[in-house]
Amino acid sequence: MWSYILKRLLHMIPLLLGVSLLTFLLMALSPGNYFTALLQNPQISPDTVARLKAQFHLDRPWYVQYVFWIKNVLSGNFGYSMAYKISATSLIMARLWNTFLLSFTALIIAWGIAIPLGVWAAVRKDSWVDHACSLFAFVGLSVPDVLLSLLALWFAAATGWFPVGGSESPLNDFLSPAQQFWDHVHHLVLPAIVLAASDLAGIMRRMRSCLLDTLRAEYVTAARARGLGEGWVIYKHALRNAINPLLTIFGYSLASLLSGAFIVENIMAWPGLGRLTVEAFFAKDSYLVVDSVVMATALLVAGNFVADLLLAWSDPRIRLK
């Protein structure tokens, strides 16, 4: 098991290097940068701009910039955000935490609802429950995240039950710690539900079909023939085996979750990595774009790593490879 973990960890290093190199190259190819706009500002002399450029090594070719960047990142320094005028490290870390919080909550909600629903639909195959679930799944798979987020905003504005966007109320700083916590939870609920809804349908359908496949297996018939109770057969024998293939889609669902979070963050003003990427993109703050893309990738890669560990833990055949 340990050698497997080590192998997977080592595999992540060239991947992240490649991703950072690719995004860096894309940034270098882009026309104009933050200083193009600064140069047009008559209040800032060209000398100042040139000095700033030299300070951030932006007057050097892109591969030299990349070497500087990677050296800094390895020592835990993500550089300086030119648009925000603060250290990019604290900015990125705060946003990374927000995106993680949003995605993780959505993940818990989605799997917490999808698994029981999928089992229910499979056990009551062809009943109205099953049909309602499959209709719900089709609708859920087809509602675009953009529309769902807009509807959620509209819902929040119309009922006043939830705050309209953001991650904390303007008065957050004056609240007691307990109130601050509830304030955050209150802001988190709606975006997390929206994000979970888009993922829920796929997991539920998968759970249903996996359990149905398992229920057709011979050992299930054998267990029934021995007179075991139906509940025991399903939950003790079939479900355990049906969960395994689901762990493989856990990794895929993370990717779609992060892309979904990108949309939800931007529409519902949740200050996460996705929103930061778009803001940095418009401000032409290229280092910040690279930083956030690399961090989002790292989050995804780490998630996949956890998914693989779960799979290796539940299925001994994988560990041996």
């Binding site: 991947l15 309209v164 529409i267 893309v293």
Partner: protein, 360 residues
């Protein structure tokens, strides 16, 4: 004594495509999806004719005009008139003031099928004071129904063109990687993994950064397709590569090789056709991702630009919660996206079941 010899006639063997069609025909949901899509694409092709107005036709006294539906008066369809009340975009219908709705009326000029100059519209009124805004008007007083139709030309075609581009690339690259295996395979697959490990929308924004702002509308259109295809080909290449890896060990490939066929011809004639049923199903199920990709780009303001119409760009106007509450018809493009994606999912699901030879 005569022995009766009965000859049992076996029905002629059906071709795989006929079998496929037989299985598909039994899935009503898939057919519903298919028919819906044919309808949507037909409407998109004839958008200029069906839309009563041009996508950029602005009306100064119809900002956020509510939807207007023709009513029956005797045996005629008539359009009521609304007048703007004092206040923020409040309209009131004027009673007993209508104009008949005409079919095949003369209106603004457009190009039918993109090249035939024409000015006949399916329906409309002759008088501009009696507008037919089926889905209301937007913040510039433009007809949302017309913009929806013009926008569908962009949104619907991007999906198909993007799929054609990225899947052909994915098939060729994946076929080469799987067939030759070895070093070429390793390099190509590592690159695919690289692309697939970046969350799609983050990669889209980074790619968007490469293109300059202020491009013409057709350049933007091409740019969106290039961006989406750059991301989409990787997953296709990976699956095709897996199929090619197992196909290259099959006897019929060995036979083709011993007959001296060139490598490229083997990939093109023998390997890729064996992946077609998978490719068609995967393509149908992937089109929504391309449509949604365009929606997100335009929604964020880095895709299709005003005054052009696209579903994502139109949804952008609904981002303002006050507008959304007072003028819910701004969400019409969201409904259009939903119906399109649902239809593709219905059809793709049915195709997948029908392509599975084990299912009956």
């Amino acid at each position: 004594m005569e022995t009766a010899i009965t000859i049992v006639e076996t029905p002629p063997a059906l071709s795989p495509w006929r079998l496929f069609w037989h299985r598909l025909r039994r899935r009503k949901i898939a057919l519903t999806g298919g028919v819906t899509l044919i309808f949507l694409y037909a409407v998109a092709i004839f958008a200029g004719f069906i839309a009563p107005y041009r996508y950029d036709q602005i009306s100064d006294n119809a900002f956020f005009h509510p939807p207007v539906w023709p009513g029956l008066q005797g045996f005629r369809l008539v359009v009521p008139r609304s007048e703007q009340m004092p206040g923020d975009f409040v309209y009131r219908q004027v009673s007993n003031d209508t104009r008949p709705l005409h079919f095949f009326v003369r209106g603004g000029k457009y190009k039918l099928l993109g090249f035939i100059p024409c000015s006949i519209h399916l329906f409309g009124t002759d008088d501009d004071n009696y507008p037919v805004y089926l889905f209301g008007a937007d913040q510039f007083g433009r007809d949302i129904f017309s913009r929806l139709l013009y926008g569908s030309q962009v949104s619907l075609s991007i999906g198909v063109v993007g799929i054609l581009l990225s899947f052909s690339l994915g098939m060729i690259v994946g076929g080469i990687a799987g067939y030759f295996a070895g070093a070429a395979d390793t390099v190509i697959m590592r690159f695919c993994e690289l692309i697939m490990s970046i969350p799609a929308l983050y990669l889209i924004i980074s790619l968007r950064n490469v293109f300059p702002p202020g491009m013409s509308s057709s350049q933007v259109y091409a740019m969106i397709i290039v961006i989406l295809s750059f991301i989409g080909w990787a997953s296709m290449a990976r699956v095709i590569r897996g199929m090619a890896l197992s196909l290259r060990e099959q006897p019929f490939i060995l036979a083709a090789r011993s007959l001296g066929q060139s490598h490229l011809k083997i990939i093109y004639r023998h390997i890729l056709p064996n992946t077609f049923s998978y490719v068609i199903v995967a393509a149908t199920l992937s089109v929504p991702y391309y449509i949604l990709g365009e929606v997100v780009l335009s929604f964020l303001g880095v895709g299709i630009q005003e005054p052009q119409a696209s579903w994502g760009l139109m949804l952008n106007a609904a981002q303002n919660t006050e507008y959304m509450q007072r003028f819910p018809w701004l969400l019409a493009p969201g409904a259009a996206i939903f119906i399109t994606v649902l239809a593709f999912n219905f059809l793709g699901d049915g195709l997948r079941d029908a392509a599975d030879a084990k299912s009956l």
